[in-house]
Amino acid sequence: MEQAAHLVPLNWYLFLSTFLFCIGVMGVLFRRNAIIILMCIELMLNSVNLLLVAFSAYSGNSDGQVFVFFIMVVAAAEVAVGLALLISIYRNIGSTDIDVLNKLKW
């Protein structure tokens, strides 16, 4: 196991995370449904988490792992607040389409 893991270069994690991050970004740009966008943001956060853990593991210092806990905390809080906002909006306009939200402009 350790021998095998040895063979995974850190670069790959970097690549994977970056790719995942960009998929998340694309999702945010791609979709109109607020919930999906939220999920894409979660995806971005997870790519960060993955990279942090990878860095932490490879450098042998656990700060990265601890940080991930905090990111999870924040993500949870964010989601809670976000979904609450979403519900509140849905009650008012009956939609979760972000393109409908354009009262405020110019």
Binding site: L38, G64, V74, V81, G82, I93, L104
Partner: protein, 463 residues
Amino acid sequence: MYTLIYTCCLGLLCLVAEILNLRKLLIPIILGGLAAIFFVNYMDWQNVAPMIIGGMDMSHMIQVDHFTVAFNGLLIAAAALLFSLSADFYKDEQHHLSDYLAILLFILSGAMVLTSFSNLIMLFLGIEIVSISLYIMAGSRKFDIRSNEAGFKYFLMGSFASAILLFGITLIYGSSGSFELAKISSFAAVSGMNSPMFLVGSLLMVAALLFKVAAVPFHFWSPDVYEGSPSLVTTMMATLVKVSFFAAFYRLMSGGLLGIDGYTNDILVIVAAATMIVGNLIALSQENFKRLLAYSGISHAGYMLLAILSLKTDSSSALFFYGAAYVLATIGAFAVAIPVFKATGKETVDAFDGLGRKKPFLASMLTLSMLSLAGIPPLAGFLGKYYIFSEAIKNGYAVLTILAVLASIVGVYYYFKVILAMYTKTGDETEVKPSLLYTIVMLVCVGLSLLLGVWPGGLMGLP
């Protein structure tokens, strides 16, 4: 050192007070508490010591120094003014009062984290505390579609920016191996320029912070959110929060990324120039007062970026003074605007029509605030602007400063739009009656603006 803790406790106290049915006493309690905290903070100035919790030295998380103390003082003062405004503002929402106030206090504590962090994790947490609380506050008028929209837009973009910030932090961690500002700083000084990952990480962090301070091209949220949010929240965003983000930005750049300023500064120059131009130009054609101030806030962000750019020669005092002047002027303006909005039911500039005739006192307060924002002597805004320009020129950003000078000329036009509305137009005969606290806030803000403009005294060159 413990102002942060005390502020958090004050927030908790708020929630407890609700349970104990002490709603009526909330504001006095908070104001008293803030006064006490301000005093504690003042004592810190004399005796800066590391923060110790449970026998453990926390200075790798929080570093209290003069910079922190100065900015904390400003934040506390701003918060006190804002809380004074909140009593009247939330008169019709008594059942949520303690929630709102608690959240506002949490924002203050988050902002205090931002002024004192010495670890990226604290930066991140500080930003999130402030941001998440603000998402809530922005959307807190839940039957108002505009408030919903503001809250949600802010939330979506803010989370997105948080993700970017995190990615940047991660890359920095990956290359430097630490979240501690001191270690990052030494890494940046030694090998920062040779580590592409570090540079990209810094750039992503800078981008995220530029989003938080609403600099072009990451500014899009701010006009919409300012306009849609309840006025008091807008005031808070424009003052306390903005200044704390700038403090964080300054701290990050000076405490961590100073070694690679050759890399970041070119970017910041472009961003600052674009911010000043875009903010000022768009503000010219705004009709909504809050939106107008949002764009004006964008342009002020451009000026404050000049201070960030010149941090090599320790421009923190310039940033501080500018921030103070800006906070005072903006709160002063909103202290007039909120009662006017309430009375007229409009939030556009023409809500002020004829105020000069109806209420000369209110009009003069707003006028002085606007003049201070426009940077006209002898108000504090002028000295702030002067100070920042001076620092920028000292660091060789002469051309950018000329641009800033020209941009601020444009700025005068839209500030005067408000003044002109008050003095040259005739409005309907709605009675505007600001409460006593509002009047006091106005007087304090404008008085301090004048005083600082004439006698900056120790406040100049403070941190």
